[in-house]
């Protein structure tokens, strides 16, 4: 298995270095190649990912859908370098995650990836503004004030910057998290059910903001969701079932997404 992994890695490296012609017009911001993730010991093992091959195009808003247990969260965690594959490879831009040490992975998450989790996105001790600039502060960098202002304006948090999370509504908290993800201009934003705990209005606002970030700033977003309405904001839906990519859909609508999910039995 290790042989396979390193062979894959080398191949991908060579491809990038030699400028091997790519199949898609834009270079993928992230990609999974034959990604396999096993949980548990040999006899009771579960294949959470069972050979996933998928590219996430740069400047594209991709939703990952699938029934629970389909492996969509595992895929997102592996893309983020929070979890490791049993075999196969994940890359963010030109970087193969499997070859990175712990410290390099941390830096990758800090500098090149933005996160929006379903809940508990913010440090309770910090104000909204401090939460937004946290990854930059961890990197010892100053935020670009103009960009910070733009982001804050877009998410509509101007008058909430000095509030602490406990003083913000759930929707506002998620928008702070989105602003944080955006403010350091990451190569890719990974969102894990970002609207899962929100009512439809607050969820809609957040998704509209994410849409604007893609359209207006060319941000790449990968979002895991089980909500067809949320998925309908994306450019493309990747459907996962039993740890495999089973289908995809471009320019989705809510109805098509629901139909598709029904077919998958989700």
């Amino acid at each position: 298995m290790a042989m396979l992994l390193s062979a894959n890695a080398t191949q991908t490296d060579t491809q990038t270095q030699t400028g091997f012609p790519r199949l898609v017009s834009t270079a993928p911001a992230a990609r999974a190649i034959n990604a396999v993730k096993l949980y548990g010991t040999a006899e009771t093992s579960v294949r959470a990912l069972d050979g996933v091959d998928v590219d996430f195009a740069s400047g594209c808003f991709t939703a990952i859908m699938g029934p629970s247990g389909s492996g969509k969260s595992t895929l997102l965690h592996c893309l983020a370098g929070l979890d490791t594959l049993s075999s196969g490879a994940i890359s963010i831009g030109d970087t193969i995650l499997g070859t990175l040490r712990e410290r390099q992975l941390t830096r990758l998450r800090r500098d090149r990836i933005g996160f929006i989790f379903q809940a508990f996105n913010l440090l309770p001790t910090l104000t909204a503004a401090e939460n937004i600039t946290l990854p930059l502060a961890l990197a010892g960098r100053k935020p670009d004030q103009a960009w910070f202002d733009t982001v804050v304006e877009v998410v509509g948090l101007r008058d909430r910057l000095n509030h602490r999370p406990a003083e913000l509504s759930g929707g506002q908290q998620q928008r702070v998290a989105a602003a944080r993800a955006l403010v350091c201009r990451p190569e890719i934003i990974l969102a894990d059910e970002p609207t899962g705990n929100l009512d439809s209005k607050a969820g809609g606002e957040l998704l509209a903001f994410m849409r604007r970030a893609v359209d207006g700033f060319g941000q790449t977003i990968v979002m895991v969701t089980h909500d067809p309405v949320a998925a309908s904001y994306a450019d493309r839906i990747v459907f996962l079932a039993d740890g495999k990519v089973v289908d995809e859909m471009f320019e989705p609508t809510v109805e098509r997404a629901i139909d598709h999910m029904k077919q998958l039995g989700g």
Binding site: H77, L82, T106, F120, T125, L134, A137
Partner: protein
């Protein structure tokens, strides 16, 4: 109930820190008892050897009780009595016991005895057992103990010089004595009876007459028989009783030890209580949901409280057991500590009484349960539904209530303390102590209100240097001020006490130094080298030699003694009224009183004279061991604190009433024009044979005083350090619990790109801030209490107030640094969390 307890036991690991805190405090408790019992046993064992083979001892009756730490002074018994006693039916054998000062000197002219313990010379008795050679006979032969011989590398037939109080003579070593486990003497020299009497200056007299009974006659019976024929001023007692008295006097001499040590143990337990209370508060808050669920399922409040208290009992019990066992090590450590202090305590194999375990466990469990009481009650106050919804563990004391309580305790404490300081009454220290307690309560109550702004200020430099991770650490320290405050308060106690001790020591040194600077006029002060045992002192021959030394103008001798007043023991100093005021400058009234003093009179401290209602011209009944009660005329009073006793007589009166001929101190003034260095050389030459005398100029007197203070300072600080260590343990414990509580936050931070190094730095920053807060409060408390304590000790001669700034600053920095060390383990634990697991945990 069992089910409730299972929830508790699952937190075992988290209670480890608490158990350790209990264990450390109990270690000191148990160590104290083991040490005391061991010393006690050693004294009894050693004293059991002193009586030898005798059954009954005849001695003169004591005219007044001894001071707590010594045996009463007794008159000698005439030699002629030995024959008479021997003739009493039932007496198998009676002999003379003679003891006195005999210092052995090695070939380099140095005293062989170590540690300043008494060096004993005696006459030979039937009890003398030799390991080699023969019993001493004739005027030139001595037998010395084999231990000393080994130490000095002496063999049979060697010549050895022996210093007596009046003379020096060389002897041939004819035999070695068996080394007995004697606690009183560090060297022993035995001569034949006649030689011993002559050399020790007690011709025709013996100290006591030991007697052996015919077989079939019990010691009690023999004692009664002898007492029937003895004159009133003598008494016969059984040897067993003499040995018991000896052991008791030694035990009494160290009776302060357990009290003092238990005081330190109490401080350690108090600090431990803070930590226990904190831990249980956190644990209960973390379990609020679980407890609320149990409540809604029908568990009563009492059941929940009981479950938490059971947990406390279990933790207290385990911790105490560990502490009791660790006490063995502590007893060893304490022994070493006191050795450093200059007390050489005898020891045998450690003595462990069941009482030690009982008290240790009881103290540990009691403190744990009491400290856990408040958290245990608080946890049940939360409404079941509220906690299920995720409200925190019950309402805490309101800010207003806190302010009121803090202000009341603070004002009351301050008032009491100031009354003590300002009134200068009889018992200022009591008022100061009570006031201090009030102020400490006030601080403990108010700190949570100040913890947030204080952390902000104290953390500022860290944030500047270490950036975001320190910033986040500071935010964490500020988020639960109550937790931060009580963790810091535990450290405050230890640091505060260490600080107070440092201030007190510096002030005592400065005050003593000032007294020396202002009043010492003598060019040199001669004192016995070492700590000075009961028999040693500056021998009279030294005084005579000094008088003949070229360049020396005046020699003034100061002797000391005990005497009885209404059966109670008092001390006195004996001075030469014509010369002493030239050596020690005191206030004009006191000096005039001294100059008027003659051999029939006594000077009394003004406050003491007032207490007894004596006026000048009244007679003071002074009972001396040797001469009985004498009516001495009160010829004047004095007020100076430079004199360390309440009664002063003349040297002439001393010589008339005491057999003891050693000086406590001999002051020397050089003739005009003689340089100090030359004077010193002359004195050293004159006293070359007397290595037991220490010659000190002003600087050396000051240094000797400082050294005395330091000798106490080191062990006291070391004992208080235990409390500081427990408090640091508390910081580590609180942080570990906090991190457990904030697992998800740690996960989030790591996911967002916080490096492990940054995470560790964040947690260590929080630790440093808590420690710095505790240290800052401790130093503030120390400055204030130090001032109060010194101010209320004016009547004890502590006139100077000194804040050793560098030392206190160093202490604060050290504490903050130690805080960082305390943060290392929790930081590691946090850094080792798996990001994904942490972020998806339910905490």
């Amino acid at each position: 109930m069992r089910r409730l307890l299972r929830g508790a036991l699952s937190q075992g690991v988290r209670l480890f820190g608490t158990a350790l805190a209990v264990a450390l405090a109990v270690t000191l408790v148990s160590g104290t008892f083991i040490l005391t019992d061991t010393i006690d046993a050693a004294f009894h064992q050693a004293s059991a050897d002193t009586g030898g083979s005798s059954d009954v001892v005849i001695r003169s009756t004591a005219l007044f009780a001894a001071q707590a730490n010594s045996l009463p002074e007794r008159e000698p018994v005439p030699q002629s009595l030995v024959e008479k006693i021997a003739a009493i039916p039932g007496v198998k054998e009676a002999w003379a016991a003679i003891q006195g000062y005999a210092e052995l000197v090695d070939k380099q002219g140095q005293a062989i005895a170590a540690k300043g313990l008494p060096t004993v010379g005696s006459g030979t008795t039937p009890d003398v057992t030799l390991t080699a050679g023969r019993a001493p006979t004739g005027p030139d032969e001595v037998a010395i103990d084999i231990e000393t011989a080994r130490r000095a590398g002496l063999v049979l037939g060697d010549k050895i010089k022996v210093l007596f109080s009046g003379s020096t003579q060389e002897f041939t070593i004819g035999g070695f004595l068996q080394a007995a486990g004697d606690v009183v003497a560090s060297t022993k020299a035995v001569f034949d009876s006649v030689t011993a009497q002559r050399m020790l200056g007690v011709e025709g007299q013996v100290d006591a007459i030991p007697v052996r009974a015919e077989s079939g006659i019990s010691p009690n019976e023999l004692r009664t028989r002898i007492n029937a024929v003895l004159p009133d001023q003598y008494e016969a007692v059984t040897t067993a009783q003499v040995e018991r008295e000896s052991a008791e006097s030694w035990t009494k001499a160290v009776a302060f030890l357990p009290t003092a040590l238990l005081l330190f143990a109490a401080v350690a337990l108090l600090v431990g209580a803070f930590i226990i209370c904190n831990t249980f508060s956190i644990l209960v808050a973390q379990r609020a949901r679980e407890l609320a669920l149990l409540r809604s399922l029908g568990a009563s409040r009492a059941q929940l409280t009981a479950s938490v208290l059971c947990e406390a009992v279990a933790v207290g019990f385990v911790g105490s057991l560990v502490g009791v066992v660790a006490g063995f090590g502590a007893a060893r450590g304490l022994l070493a500590l006191f050795d450093r202090m200059g007390f050489e305590l005898p020891s045998t194999s450690a003595v462990f009484l069941p009482r030690t375990a009982a008290i240790g466990v009881l103290a540990g469990v009691a403190v744990t349960v009491v400290a856990a009481l408040a958290p245990a009650r608080r946890c049940t106050r939360v409404a079941p539904v509220g906690a299920l919804r995720g409200a925190d563990g019950g309402r805490t004391t309101s800010t207003q209530g806190r302010l009121v309580l803090g202000a009341v305790a603070g004002v009351a404490g301050l008032a009491t303390l100031l009354t003590g300081v300002l009134s200068g009454g009889n018992r200022p220290l009591v008022a100061v102590g009570l006031g201090a307690v009030g102020i400490l309560v006030s601080i403990a109550v108010l700190t949570p209100l100040a913890a947030t702004p204080a952390s902000r200020v104290l953390g500022a430099p860290l944030v500047r240097v270490f950036g975001e991770s320190a910033f986040l650490g500071r935010e964490n320290a500020m988020r639960s001020p109550r937790r931060t405050a009580s963790t810091a308060a535990a450290l405050m106690i230890g640091i505060g006490l260490v600080g107070v001790v440092a201030i007190l020591a510096a002030s005592v040194k400065a005050s003593a130094g000032r007294t020396v600077d202002e009043s010492l006029r003598a060019d040199f002060v001669l004192t016995p080298a070492g700590l000075g045992g009961a028999v040693s002192g500056v021998p009279p021959v030294v005084v005579d030699r000094l008088r003949e030394t070229p360049g020396v103008a005046t020699v003034s001798e100061i002797r000391g003694g005990q005497w009885g007043l209404d059966g109670r023991t008092q001390t006195l100093l004996a001075v030469d009224p014509t010369t002493v005021t030239a050596m020690h400058a005191v206030d004009a009234d006191s000096a005039a009183a001294v100059r008027r003093l003659d051999d029939k009179g006594v000077l009394v401290r003004d406050t003491v004279a007032e207490r007894y209602g004596w006026r000048i011209g009244d007679s003071v009944p002074m009972t001396f061991a040797r001469t009985g009660t004498k009516k001495m005329v009160l010829q004047g009073t004095f007020s100076t604190t430079a004199v360390r006793t309440d009664f002063v007589i003349t040297l002439g009166a001393h010589k008339a009433n005491y057999a003891q001929i050693f000086a406590l101190e001999v002051d020397v003034a050089l003739a005009a024009g003689v340089r100090l260095a030359d004077g010193r050389v002359a004195i050293e030459q004159a006293l070359a044979d007397y290595p037991v005398v220490k010659i000190m100029d002003h600087g050396e007197v000051l240094a000797a005083q400082d050294e005395q203070v330091d000798r106490l300072l080191v062990p006291v600080t070391a004992l208080l350090a235990l409390s500081v260590i427990i408090a640091l343990l508390g910081i580590a414990n609180t942080l570990a619990l906090s991190i457990h509580e904030r697992t998800r936050e740690v996960g989030l931070l790591r996911a967002l790109g916080m490096a492990r190094r940054q995470l560790r730095s964040m947690i260590r920053s929080e630790a440093v801030i808590i420690a710095a807060l505790g240290a800052a409060m401790g130093i503030a408390v120390a400055l204030f209490f130090g001032w109060a304590l010194v101010a209320s000790m004016r009547h004890l001669g502590v006139t100077e107030l000194v804040f050793p700034i560098a030392q206190l600053g160093g202490l604060a920095v050290l504490a903050a640094g130690a805080g960082m060390v305390a943060g290392i383990l929790p930081a590691r634990k946090a850094a080792s969390l798996e990001v994904l697991k942490a972020i998806s945990s339910d905490r």
